[in-house]
Symmetry: C2
Subunit: 536 residues, 2 copies
């Protein structure tokens, strides 16, 4: 198999091989900045549309870009690090350099996971991987045994949720870069915490996406909310498929992640005989066997479609688990009474009974979607569903980024915790939820392109037309980012501590009680009376 990107082939001779796919070009060259000198190396068309060049005696942290048809130079699609952001030079990374301490780590069973979702930039004042690593004892105290990092691939500007990533293999320089990420994963493993990475294969960010320069990575064959679809089934989709599969292996192999959370898989359009999700599943199963450690895949999807989590051997896509939004929406509407936007389909407290056993929408008509929605998930075990009462989307996609702590009275926060932690699903806590953080988690961006800056500010306001929300903060305003950072623990109030203790106690109960430890949704009895009391 071709190893793409910049690869050290001889450490002694400081010899580096560059390789890139470039479709239908006249000439391709690599511009190398090494030890103060800049040189341009012509690349040879090794096989059609694959160019390579070898150079020796260079610095092993050199910078490079690819020049296409004598025109501008662009970052490498396989760049491991973009120290100057999405538009800048790519840096060669020597992955052998980091000394891992987790040789005995064998991974975790997915059914045991208790996940905290973390945005690295907003988790701490410093906003870095190192700052997360320093706070792991806090997670251990709480009882969380898995960290799910919102996407870390390179995004435009100084901050971003992560879903505007454009360099799939680059570790965001705002968070510290490759070695710091390895250090974080390594520290987690020392503390018996699994690490899940959120990866985005359904679209690319709107700024700094140079993939179209290189080849047909996108196709007009399908439409998505982000325009042209990522090309998984049109001409030359082999490029994209290889890049994605290489990326899956990269995070698990090179960074030792334990699992991936695949963003919005319903937006991955693929009519190939073998769906890319099936190829991803197979790739991960093979890697797991080869490495002899547990690896898992979690899909985010709004489709309530069991095919995504059904086994490959039955034609499913083989994901270990999926997010179940229905659970959130039922709990959220029960506690807040909200009925706007997509919440119009929810609001019956009685629905709790069903949603502990199955999706809520298992083929019923949805007013919001204006069509039938969902399949029957009753035979899929609870460990195939990740549930949350708050997450980055449900909080952050509100105009004001209001957490539940702002929307309901304090005791309801405890009710929400109980509803989630006594379910037979895999609970996911959104950072700050566990102590009733009152600061918002807002949608923030830092685009450099003036047109895009205006579009995002305007678009954000239009997005909430269906809701009655006013005062939509500007995503481009730095204050929007800083306002979203968590309150430091030393600034907690009494209620913060009380809720934390409550979460901690419930979590430890869930993890130690013989019945709750391996919960079985078929053995769960749920009874709801109209005064909103839940008995089990």
């Amino acid at each position: 198999m071709f190893k793409m990107g910049a690869n050290i082939i001889d450490r002694e001779k400081r010899e580096v091989l560059f390789r890139v796919f470039a479709y239908d070009k006249r000439e391709v060259a690599v511009v190398v900045k090494s030890g103060g000198a800049i040189k341009e190396l012509p690349m040879t068309e090794e096989t059609p549309n694959v160019y390579s060049a070898v150079t020796a005696g260079v610095s092993l942290d050199l910078l490079y870009k690819f020049k296409i048809d004598g025109d501008q130079a662009y970052p490498d699609p396989y760049s491991c690090f973009q120290p100057f952001g999405v538009h800048g030079f790519s840096r060669l990374i020597d992955h052998e350099d980091y000394r891992w301490r987790d040789a005995n780590w064998q991974g975790k069973d997915i059914e045991d996971l208790l996940i905290m979702e973390i945005h690295t930039g907003a988790f701490s004042g410093a906003g870095t991987f190192k700052a997360v690593a320093e706070r792991l004892d806090y997670l251990v105290e709480l009882g969380v045994n898995a960290v799910e990092l919102m996407p870390v691939a390179q995004t435009p500007g100084r901050w971003n949720w992560g879903y505007d990533g454009v360099n799939l293999f680059s570790v965001n320089h705002n968070y510290g870069g490759p070695d710091d990420l390895k250090y974080l994963v390594d520290c987690c493993h020392q503390k018996n915490i699994a690490v899940i990475l959120d990866v985005v294969y359904n679209h690319f960010g709107p700024e700094g996406n140079y993939l179209p320069v290189y080849g047909p990575y996108f196709t007009a064959k399908h439409k998505t909310p982000w325009g042209k679809a990522v090309n998984y089934d049109d001409l030359y989709s082999g490029y994209t498929r290889k890049m994605v599969l290489d990326n899956v292996r990269y995070w698990l192999e090179v960074y030792h992640f334990d699992g991936l959370r695949l963003d919005a898989v319903h937006a991955i359009k693929d009519n190939s005989p073998i769906h890319i999700l099936q190829e991803i599943s197979l790739t991960v199963r093979n890697l797991s066997l080869q490495q002899n450690r547990k690896l898992f895949l979690i899909a985010e999807t709004d489709q309530n479609n069991t095919r995504i989590i059904n086994p490959l051997d039955r034609g499913g896509y083989g994901m270990d688990a999926q997010w179940m939004d229905d659970f959130h929406h039922v709990v959220h509407t029960a506690l807040t009474g909200e009925r706007e936007g997509y919440y119009m389909d929810y609001g019956r407290v009685k629905d709790l009974e069903k949603v502990y056993k199955n999706y809520l929408y298992t083929g019923e008509y949805s007013k919001y979607w204006q069509r039938e929605r969902g399949t029957d998930g009753s035979r899929n075990p609870g460990k195939q569903f990740v549930v949350a009462v708050q997450n980055h989307d449900q909080v952050g996609n509100r105009a004001g980024g209001d957490r539940l702590s702002i929307l309901v009275e304090f005791p309801y926060l405890k009710a929400a915790a109980g509803l989630m932690l006594f379910s037979a699903y895999l609970p996911l806590i959104f950072m700050g939820e566990e102590y009733g953080e009152k600061r918002p988690f807002l949608f923030f961006t830092d685009y450099g392109d003036p047109e895009l800056q205006q579009a995002v500010s305007r678009g954000r306001k239009e997005e909430f037309a269906q809701f009655t929300w006013e005062n939509v903060p500007d995503p481009q305003d730095p204050e929007t980012f800083y306002a979203s950072k968590l309150t430091p623990r030393n600034a907690w109030d009494r209620q913060n501590q009380e809720l934390f203790n409550f979460y901690r106690d419930l979590i430890h109960l869930r993890r130690s009680h013989p019945v709750l430890k391996k919960p079985d949704k078929d053995k769960l009895e749920v009874e709801v009376d109209q005064e909103n009391r839940v008995a089990r």
Copy 2:
């Protein structure tokens, strides 16, 4: 996805699209013989290395070949029919023409299968698909509910075992061609018989293989007993992989086969991240869901490697079952006392105890292979293994093609039947075994190439150097083929009828008795005493 080969795109206008992969060529054309006229159409490079041409007003049974670089013309790698053999013109086939009668057929559970292996040419005097179709009541009487056809893809000459196939999609003209094969499968389904096709993806035949003219379908990266390996993981392996996956779908979709038996999968060399067998499994699972009928895959392998039959979801190759040679060898050596060649590793009657539960070689040292061999298959259910006391290989790969009926006394044939039919595995009967056929099943070929004719005659003799067999019949002698045809039922003797009745009664017992119907190898108790008595 590209539809390769010759495709009817408009029946009214009699419009046909030709498409072919041809790597690194200057010009490609299609030579069309339609209604007495011959014309040559230049083909356009639709996308790099894919050439196509459209023509209208042609006959829908036209003949064609592809002309490469103004040179010779060659048969289509996707040809559906070679009416004049491997070197001749390809014929366009209108697959919509056949009227199927099996709309309600939903397939069979693999665990219920009782298979007869059939060589179409030797099964009857006529040696055609139609002649097999006429004899299905015989199979129903015997109680067999699945037919496994030895390969039907086009082979050189008038007769061949089938493993010299060179046109993966062509139905052998010696057996009648596409419509007759559809008719046979259709008739089987009417009689509640599943049909399995033996397909060969590990090598191509030595004569008429024009694939190398078209592109790098073979690689010197791996060695096989047939020379260069089929290219599954070297440059441009995408061609081969697509062709094989298209072929898998073709037999199941277009010909309604219920399953495939993949020849010698250990000779498929593939170091890709996703093994081609995994892609084949996924393709078949997807198709099964889509068509809502049961489909299965059976691998032939001598490796005793459970990875081949373990589920995709655990990194296995996802085959439903595999052939288990160890069972044959233990029974064969116990009954015949033979110890030559690979039989040197067998011969202990006591081994029967293990081989009812597991492979015999589960990691032990093998004298014949001169290394450790096998993995533990004790946890794989019996329905994952196909066993035989005779099959085309074990009979036909003896110099004299001697069936067990020639090697042992009559009562031993009943013992062999019992040993197989009371196992918890899927039994496979080799045509003729059920009535103790005494005619041999010899290795026969009909190569046209003089060098090859000499080589096969000489090679056959050398192959048996390890054994003490003499008088090796010449595979090229027509008598060798005719001698291998089954005795017609009206020429059976008393013992033939007696053994047939015995097989029939045991088969019906197995298929009706509550314990034998769904046999469980874990519940099986096997006891062997040294006088060769087997109790259960």
